[in-house]
């Protein structure tokens, strides 16, 4: 039975090898993946570049007039890039500023809380499996569901305000005040994603040899020193993975925040992907060129950040190997 099955599987590959030769077979094996990559990643990227250097509102690439770098000039036209009001496309620069602050707070908060959670869940404790599942559960939820749950909690007549008012306090404009709304987008985003990063860090913690901790315990090393001298250095490769992934994900934040606040109040929670989406699709005039240019700029920034982190990771590995 197994021999027949093996022959059935072999037959087409034998034919392919006879046709292309053994040396070209690796290409045959990666071809399907390359095809999918080409259609869904490479082609859209090339199209994006075309949209960025063409103008008008036409959707079909062939109908769009070439405008060179004018979309880039339009986006970068500022008297002072740190004051969005002085920029021609002020909403783009507000989104850039908001995203920068969001990334800084969200990534630091996310990594810190994920690490703390992983450390707690790595200890021997009752119901450990249950708690691991509880922390991972939000990752399984659709971003829209996450946003709707939190909206239900944070809206003026929401659960949190009911508690505040019930305790004798005044209603708090959680989603109506720019500062509050911005803070809550960070909290919600951390809540929704920390389970995934906790899992990566937990895997890293479990890979640290137990005898190192036993030796430290026998030497009477304080817990804090154990954390800084054993846990953190050996967890560093996982931390770097978490940092890179969290950073990319934070820059790309859109779905749950869009449903939760719609970018408001004003533009307080409008991040870069929402700017791109609204410029390209939500307005009557679909300014695809400007949106494509903005995505290229964001892509460039992400590439630089990723390369920097990869370099740091390589350096850390080199130092550890010495």
């Amino acid at each position: 039975m197994i021999t027949t099955l093996a022959r059935l599987i072999d037959a087409p590959f034998d034919a392919l090898q006879r046709r292309f030769g053994a040396a070209r077979m690796p290409y045959v094996f990666v071809a399907p993946n390359l095809l999918v990559f080409g259609i869904f990643v490479a082609a859209p990227m090339i199209l994006n570049v075309w949209y960025a250097i063409t103008g008008g509102t036409q959707f079909m690439p062939a109908d769009r007039p070439y405008v060179g770098a004018s979309n880039f000039a339009e986006l970068l036209d500022c008297t002072n890039h740190f004051i969005p009001a002085t920029c021609k496309q002020d909403r783009f620069w507000r989104a850039v500023a908001n995203t920068s602050w969001f990334v800084a707070f969200q990534v630091i908060g996310l990594v810190a809380i994920s690490l703390l959670t992983a450390l707690i869940l790595n200890r021997r404790m009752p119901w450990r499996g249950f708690f691991r599942a509880v922390f991972f559960y939000p990752v399984l939820l659709s971003p829209v569901v996450v946003a709707l749950i939190w909206k239900w909690i944070l809206q003026p007549d929401g659960v949190l305000n009911a508690i505040v008012v019930g305790s004798g306090g005044a209603r708090v404009p959680f989603l109506l005040d720019p500062g509050w709304a911005f803070s809550w987008t960070i909290v919600v985003s951390i809540w929704a994603h920390m389970g995934f990063y906790t899992l990566i860090l937990l895997a890293g913690l479990q890979a640290i040899p137990a005898d190192l901790y036993e030796a430290a315990e026998m030497d009477g090393t304080p817990h804090v020193r154990v954390f800084w001298r054993i846990t953190l250095p050996l967890l560093m490769p996982n931390m770097l993975v978490v940092l890179v992934l969290a950073l990319i994900r934070a820059v790309q934040s859109f779905d749950e925040i869009f449903v939760l606040t719609g970018g408001g109040p004003g533009t307080a929670t409008q991040y870069i992907v929402q700017y791109i989406y609204e410029t390209a699709f939500a307005n009557q005039t679909h300014i695809l060129g400007l949106a494509a240019t903005a995505s290229m700029l964001v892509g460039g920034v992400l590439l630089v950040l990723t390369l920097l982190q990869l370099a740091a990771s390589a350096r850390a590995r080199g130092e550890a190997g010495r």
């Binding site: 509102t57 959707f59 909403r91 109506l176 720019p178 109040p265 004003g266 307005n283 009557q284 005039t285």
Partner: protein
């Protein structure tokens, strides 16, 4: 055995061929709902299918957001449905099919829909028939009269100004504890009527010009009302960008004294509020220039890309025919764009006094519509103006910029939008 198989195959082909020959042409309509109109349309189309077995009409009922955001992409990429129900009436007019030559009785359409036919015509076209209005709308206030009664404050009269309504609504809210004196849908289209009442012209000749003195008066009022609590930031201040946010739920929950929206809310409120409290539409508040809201509505348009233009036209011809059109409006409680029916009056299937009173107010508001409002509604690129208004006024309300800066940004946004759209 082989002969038997061949006979079976031939018998199968023979059975399928006549079916194929009589297979109905499928017409797909992309349709969104405000109330029960999808249900009513399906019922009417079932009758059409029974009388026209060669045409099958598929009603794809989609969320409104899909009509505003996804449909334009589908149309631009040649993937449009045969027919769609749209509200951005002139937005992609160059892609609409001219139904004129395909209609059974073109004169009937020209006679009864004369006022609204220009709304779906491409620029420069003055004779084509490009769409069938399924609904005429007028923006207008809806009040919670029970709150006025509880507060012991009389409703302002039919010629009351916006400022008088604001004072009354705020007093009612203070006496009854209602959290929102005035709510207005977060939409540039909604703001336009009150601005025109204050003297806004929206055009300088034929060139769009958003910011003028009348416009400044109304935007300043809205801005001030958000600061003094007459309006809650819950509606205009709770989201960003161009996102639409209605206050229908807050009104239905009895939290709003005066809700500025439009007549399309009546069927929904008849269902959600019923006679839970006394609600009804009232005349549009006045300003120095007018007492107007904005006209609008939804239209069915067929696209040039349809493979079945004649069948699409037959479907629209049927829906436009007087008895069908009258039944559709009677059952959906929509205002009609059909001049003949408007003159005769539609026997609305509404028993509730709230709905009857609201429909009367809507009819009065249609008569009071300003010519500026009609001109703005008929302008194909009006959403560029509406979006600039929404985004920038919202930023001012949120405290991100001054009202002066917001007006400046509105002007430059409109100029940029028109330039990107290729409007000289």
């Amino acid at each position: 055995m082989r002969t038997l198989l061949r006979r079976a195959l031939l018998a199968g082909i023979a059975a399928v061929l006549p079916m194929a020959a009589h297979a109905a042409t499928e017409i797909r309509i992309m349709w969104y709902n405000d109330g029960n109109e999808g249900e009513v349309a399906r019922d009417l189309l079932n009758r059409f299918e029974a009388a026209n077995p060669d045409i099958k009409v598929v009603l794809d009922q989609v969320p409104y957001k899909m009509i505003t955001e996804n449909l334009p992409q589908l149309v631009s990429s040649g993937q449009a449905p045969d027919i769609a129900r749209i509200t951005d009436l002139g937005g992609q007019a160059d892609q609409y099919l001219d139904l004129g030559p395909l209609l059974k009785d073109r004169a009937y359409w020209e006679k009864n829909f004369a006022a609204v036919l220009p709304w779906t015509r491409p620029a420069g076209n003055t004779t084509g028939i490009f769409g069938l209005m399924t609904q005429l709308t007028v923006t207008m206030p809806i009040v919670n009269e029970t709150l006025f009664q509880q507060a012991g404050i009389p409703l302002p009269g039919p010629k009351a100004t916006w400022q008088e309504w604001a004072i009354a609504a705020k007093a009612v809210a203070q006496k009854t504890g209602a959290p929102i004196p005035i709510a207005m849908d977060r939409s540039g289209h909604r703001m336009a009527g009150p601005a025109i009442s204050m003297g806004a012209k929206f055009f300088d000749g034929d060139t769009p010009a958003l910011v003028d003195d009348g416009f400044k008066v109304m935007t300043k009022l809205l801005y001030d009302w958000h600061r003094d609590g007459t309006m809650s930031k819950q509606i205009w201040g709770s989201v960003g960008g161009t996102a639409y946010r209605g206050a229908n739920e807050e009104f239905a929950n009895g939290q709003v004294v005066l809700y500025f929206s439009g007549n399309w809310q009546f069927p929904q409120f008849a269902k959600t509020i019923g006679d839970g409290f006394d609600w009804h539409g009232v005349n549009n508040p006045c300003g120095p220039a007018a007492c107007t809201g904005m006209p609008g509505g939804a239209a069915l348009v067929a696209y040039k890309s349809t493979k079945h233009p004649a069948e699409a036209a037959r479907v629209l011809d049927y829906l436009a025919s007087e008895p069908v059109y009258a039944e559709f409006h009677a059952r959906t409680l929509f205002l009609t764009a059909h001049a003949g029916l408007a003159a005769k009056g539609i026997a609305y299937k509404a028993d509730m006094p709230q709905v009857r009173k609201s429909l009367e107010a809507a009819a009065a508001n249609v008569l009071a519509l300003s010519p500026v409002a009609y001109k703005l509604q008929g302008y194909a690129r009006n959403r560029i103006l509406f979006n600039a208004l929404t985004v920038r006024l919202n930023q001012a309300i949120a405290g991100e910029m001054s009202l002066d800066d917001a007006w400046g940004r509105m002007t430059s946004d409109v100029a940029d939008g028109l330039k990107a759209a290729g409007v000289k």
